[in-house]
């Protein structure tokens, strides 16, 4: 990699490899992808950890995210400032949590955060309705949406508080083996 210009120092790469599920090559590729989003903003040289953030509007133009109905939520969840601006570290975090090697527990935690639109640590009916509207793009009538959400909560809510806590969510995930393969973005 060091033939033209070094993007990361050896130490940085090692830290990335230790803390994420990516190999050195993937990290470099991710950097290239990140840089492609905003070439004028992101330098090639990352050895001095520049504090640069790419805004959400650019991030969601990535083909991997472009068609995802939850793209804004995903980016917001992983951005440190909560506004959707991603530094390179956040960017790496995002794809690391969504990659194939990431374990079920981690994916569950992040999925919960993504679906928790109002960030009250519960997936309440409001969140579910938002999710459903994002998934179907408003093709269901409001009554149907309410019906489906009620049913979903009724099915998955164990403790009867009419909203899904993390425990409920986890329990539901454990019954859905597809979650692992579905909650996965190939980079």
């Amino acid at each position: 990699m060091g033939n033209k210009q070094t993007t990361f120092t050896e130490e940085q790469l090692e830290a990335y490899q230790d803390c994420t599920f990516f190999t050195r090559k993937e990290i470099l590729r991710l950097h290239t992808r990140y840089r492609e989003l905003a070439p004028h903003l992101v330098p090639l040289d990352y050895t001095n950890n520049p504090d640069i953030k790419v805004p959400m509007t650019l991030i969601i133009t990535m083909p991997e995210l472009k068609e995802n109905p939850f793209r804004e939520r995903i980016v917001e969840t992983f951005s440190e400032d909560g506004q959707g601006n991603l530094s390179f570290n956040d960017f790496i975090d995002m794809f690391s949590a969504l990659c194939e090697a990431s374990p079920r527990e981690l994916k569950t935690i992040y999925a919960f955060k993504i679906y928790d639109f109002n960030r009250d640590n519960f997936i309440c009916k409001e969140d579910l309705e938002k999710t459903l509207n994002k998934l179907t793009k408003g093709e269901l009538t409001p009554e149907e949406v309410t019906l489906v959400c009620d049913k979903a909560i009724e099915e998955a809510d164990l403790d009867g508080d009419n909203k899904l806590s993390f425990a409920d969510f986890e329990n539901m995930i454990s019954k859905a083996p597809d979650f692992l393969s579905n909650f996965h973005i190939r980079i």
Binding site: D18, T23, P63, E105, S181
Partner: protein, 974 residues
């Protein structure tokens, strides 16, 4: 905690208090491994002074944020301690914040198991989520000593636990932490620092081992990188997954996996069997019984299809292999062991991947929660194609509507309708089973015909062409009949899509099994009596089958996908663009792989053909898929299907192939005059002969002994079987026990939910029963607000709530600590309610006292007398407590804190002539709170000390109440 938005009748603050409780529960488990337990008193002293710090009102960034616009109020004056520097939640600060105790606590051994660790991390993750709902660490509103301390403490504990792990486990653990990269990096750095400090203390041995582990880690990364580079079809897989979703991708993943099997098999066979033969014997074809290589055998072209003639004289088939020992290389043994080892390895890897799949996908997965599952788990994040996304959307809509109408429909199903459904099912099953039998019979007769009419003595071109009949018929059946089955499936009404797919799968498997069993019957029973070199004959028929299977697979994708696409788009638009039938296609793959497994004995180079076949098939299917198919309408449970496919591959097919090969090797007499096992009674006796030779070699007696006493003894196998049966039985029982446990735990969750709602109701009842007082209180608070509304905004009440929540939290923690020292926590739900009620009463009392203070406060705007009274009352309580709780140094710290606060107040009063209504309100709330706490404590003295139930829940209630109060205030403020 920022979610005061829907402020209706129901207190939204409850959200957080509940989470607090959950958090506590999660982390209470880990407190036993906490080295801090031993030095709690000092720590708590520290904590108590923190209490005081809170009492003195938040500082730093929070103040700037939430007290904006009221700088003219000298808030700092209350504090006699110098203002500590503003702290942020950035992880960089936690290094500097290491407690002094931290270092001498390190010598305490740390009993940490991985299960415990994950629990802790989850606890932390949950806590984080609850404390920072938006994962926003820079939000200054939370820059609060207590939270900060707590987080730091958590981090210390985490570091401790991580430090106890080996380097590799540690890296893995760090990777799995649900934190941002920055935090992970910080933890990693911290750990490295620690370990380097540690290694300085020890000898260079530790240093060396550290270096070795570092080196191996680097090597591991390089290997991983290299493996990734070698990975086949990454881009193709991504694009397929992006366009058609994970369920279609399953097929391609499966194909790739099988390809890997075949590459391995080819390498092994070629390397250990074929290469030695080719190197030492340049003319493998002498093995044919006639010593002359027939002059008339030339390559005519038809051989490519039939596999006879010229191919007979190449290393393709069994017959060409020598039985000699070539320069010390025993061909017999090589042949036998290569195939045996390959089959065993195949079996092991199948079992392994099957178990991994079962584990990951939870065999117990049931479809109980359908809607929730459809909402939250079915969206395939890997889909990137716009059209596919649109289609998925539509499909999801249709499915949801269906499921809504289904539930309504289910009840309306009459008996006659049910009977009709069952009748159709029965008819379809009967029809498909008889079709399978008919096909098997057809194959039998065709084979019979072929064997009767062909004459081996004078082999004509026509005879050669006749051999193509059987593979043609078999492949045709395999192509056409599944289409019929799919047709049947359309008439049937299954309640779920899953059942439909299972029915289809079972029928297809049955068909393929019956055909294969007829073929195997022929190969095992009829062929050995016929020819001189029967193994090669079997090898040839397998070759033909594999080849024809390939041709028909191509035809199948032409007819099945291309034609129906043309029909669907041009002729009958009603049919629409076809979908890719994953189940049928995967079964075809499984079938062809079974042929290759059976053929491994008769034609060792068959895997080479299989490799070619799969390579071409991959590209063919990919092209056909992208041009002719649409993404599947049903978002099938891909992961589950994959598990089922692997299971199918293992169970009837691999096990069948293995038993055929084993039967051939053990029971059938090899041909007299060709192949490696000629002139032996069976293939296995090659091993016998080898052992017999070993007897004469000194030093290898033990091998002979083992062979005679273990491998050949029935007792050994009998015992092994017995032991395995016992183990299976035990594991089965364990599984049953676990299931029961899961059921009970689930029940417990439900019960706790009920408890919670019951308590909430009681709480509301109690509050309603005191409406007058509440309104009075509210009024007073309102007037207080009016006093100060030029200064204070809603932020203030917010901050009150904050402080109270903090206090509640701290208290909770305190109690937990106390109990974790005091005794083993007994999970008791029963005793919950009465102490709870007591706590509530105490609270109420405190409230009243609180109110009593308010009027007085109205009389004396300076509020000093009221405060003094309150202080006196509190001091009394404290004294009492001092007497009783001397064991815990905490109380003295509390007293100190109180005094400090009092002093602060006094100075405040002295200094400030102008009234500080806001701070007074704050102080009063604090006091009421503290008083409630005291009351609570007094009551606990009577309660049995080793009962964590009441403490947790009462604190919870208090927190709720505090919150509610704050909410009221807040509402009034607006």
């Amino acid at each position: 905690m920022t979610s005061y938005r829907n402020g209706g009748f129901f207190n939204p603050a409850y959200h957080d208090t509940e989470t607090l409780e959950i958090d506590r529960r999660a982390s209470s488990k880990t407190h036993h491994t906490n080295p801090y337990d031993n030095e709690d008193p000092t720590w708590w002293g520290d904590r108590a002074s923190n209490d005081a710090a809170i009492g003195r009102v938040p500082q730093g960034g929070w103040q700037e944020e939430s007290w904006r616009g009221r700088e003219n109020i000298p808030m700092d004056a209350i504090s006699i301690r110098p203002r500590s520097p503003p702290r942020h939640h950035g992880p960089n600060h936690s290094i500097s914040g290491m407690d002094p105790e931290y270092n001498h606590s390190r010598s305490i051994p740390l009993p940490s198991s991985s299960g415990n660790m994950t629990m802790r991390w989850r606890g932390i993750a949950m806590r984080r989520m609850s404390m920072f709902p938006d994962a926003d660490h820079t939000q200054t509103a939370f820059t609060e000593d207590a939270i900060w301390n707590e987080m730091q403490n958590e981090q210390q504990n985490l570091l401790e636990e991580l430090a106890a792990l080996s380097t590799r486990d540690r890296i893995k653990a760090i990777r799995d932490l649900p934190m941002s990269f920055k935090e992970k990096k910080h933890i990693r750095k911290e750990l490295e620092l620690q370990s380097s400090r540690k290694s300085r203390q020890f000898t260079c041995l530790a240093d060396c081992s550290e270096k070795v582990s570092l080196f191996s880690r680097k090597c591991g990364y390089h290997v991983k990188s290299a493996k990734q580079t070698l990975e086949l079809w990454q881009g193709a897989m991504k694009s397929i997954g992006g366009k058609f979703g994970t369920s279609v991708l399953t097929y391609f993943v499966f194909l790739k996996w099988l390809l890997m099997f075949n590459i391995f098999s080819f390498l092994v066979n070629f390397g250990f069997v074929t290469i030695p033969l080719l190197v030492y014997k340049h003319t493998p074809n002498i093995s044919q019984n006639v010593n002359n290589v027939p002059q008339n055998v030339t390559f005519r072209g038809l051989e490519i299809l039939t596999g006879v003639g010229y191919f007979n004289y190449t290393v393709m088939y069994y017959g060409s292999y020598s039985n000699e020992t070539l320069v010390g290389y025993n061909m017999q043994l090589a042949y036998f062991f290569t195939i045996a080892v390959y089959m065993v390895l195949c079996g092991i890897s199948l079992i392994f991947s099957m178990s991994v799949n079962f584990k990951n996908n939870y065999v117990l997965a049931d479809s109980a929660s359908n809607s929730a599952w459809q909402l939250l788990c079915t969206w395939d994040f890997s889909v990137t194609n716009e059209k596919a996304v649109k289609q998925r959307r539509n499909n999801l809509c249709v499915q949801l509507k269906e499921s809504l109408s289904e539930t309504a429909q289910q009840e309306r199903l009459t008996v006659s309708e049910k009977l009709k459904h069952y009748g159709i099912h029965f008819g379809c099953w009967l029809l498909s089973t008889s079709l399978a039998f008919g096909c098997a019979a057809g194959v039998y007769f065709v084979y019979e015909y072929e064997i009767e009419t062909t004459n081996i003595a004078n082999w004509s071109l026509l005879d050669e062409a006749k051999t193509l009949l059987v593979p043609f018929v078999v492949s045709l059946i395999n192509l056409v009949i599944p289409l019929f089955y799919s047709l049947f499936n359309k008439f049937e009404h299954y309640s779920t899509h899953r059942k439909q797919i299972y029915a289809l799968l079972i029928r297809n498997v049955f068909l393929k099994m019956s055909i294969l069993s007829v073929l195997c019957y022929y190969w095992m029973k009829k062929v050995p009596d016929k020819g001189s070199c029967w193994e090669s004959t079997v090898g040839q028929s397998l070759y033909r089958l594999v080849l024809f299977d390939f041709l028909f697979l191509m035809l199948g994708s032409f007819f099945g996908e291309f034609l129906s696409n043309v029909i669907g788009t041009k002729l009958i638009p009603r049919m629409g663009v076809p979908e890719f039938d994953v189940a049928r296609n995967v079964l075809e793959l499984i079938y062809s792989q079974t042929l290759a497994w059976i053929g491994i004995y008769f034609s060792p180079l068959l895997p080479a053909m299989q490799i070619l076949k799969f390579l071409i098939l991959f590209y063919l299917k990919k092209v056909s898929l992208t041009h002719n198919c649409q993404p599947p309408r049903r978002s099938g449970r891909a992961a589950q299907m994959q598990t089922i496919f692997i299971f199918l591959l293992f169970f009837p097919f691999f096990v069948g192939a293995l038993s055929i090969v084993a039967y051939t090797a053990w029971s059938l007499t090899p041909s007299e005059d060709c192949g490696p096992f000629r002139r032996l009674s069976n293939s296995f006796s090659a091993v016998d002969v080898w052992i017999g030779n070993l007897k004469n070699v000194t030093g290898s007696q033990w091998v002979v002994e083992i062979y005679n006493n273990v491998i050949r003894s029935e007792i050994f196998y009998f015992l092994i079987t017995l032991i395995i049966l016992v183990i299976i039985y035990i594991l089965w029982q364990v599984t049953n026990g676990r299931k029961e446990l899961i059921r009970r735990l689930r029940q417990q969750i439900v019960n706790e939910g009920k408890d919670k709602s019951f308590l909430l109701e009681r709480l509301q009842d109690l509050q309603k029963s005191l409406p007058n007082k509440n309104t009075k209180q509210k009024k007073q608070k309102g007037s207080m607000k009016q006093h100060s509304d030029d200064h204070s905004s809603g932020d203030q009440s917010n901050s009150n709530a904050m402080v109270q929540a903090l206090l509640a939290r701290q208290e909770l923690e305190e109690e937990e600590r106390r109990y974790s020292i005091g005794g083993v926590p007994v999970p008791s739900e029963m005793s919950n309610s009465s102490p709870l009620m007591q706590a509530m009463l105490a609270r109420q009392l405190a409230d009243q006292e609180n109110e009593d203070q308010y009027p007085m406060h109205d009389e004396n705007p300076s509020s000093s007398s009221a405060l003094a009274q309150a202080m006196a009352a509190r001091n009394r309580v404290e004294d009492e407590e001092n007497n009783q709780y001397d064991v815990f140094n905490r109380s003295s710290a509390v007293t100190q804190a109180m005094q400090a606060r009092r002093r602060a107040e006094d100075t405040d009063d002295d200094m400030g002539d102008l009234p500080h209504p806001v701070s007074n309100v704050m102080m009063q709330v604090m006091q009421a709170r503290q008083q409630a706490q005291e009351d609570d404590r007094i009551q606990w003295m009577t309660a049995p000390p080793q009962n964590p139930g009441p403490s947790g829940s009462s604190a919870l209630i208090q927190a709720m109440l505090a919150r509610q109060e704050a909410q009221n205030e807040y509402d009034d403020g607006y």
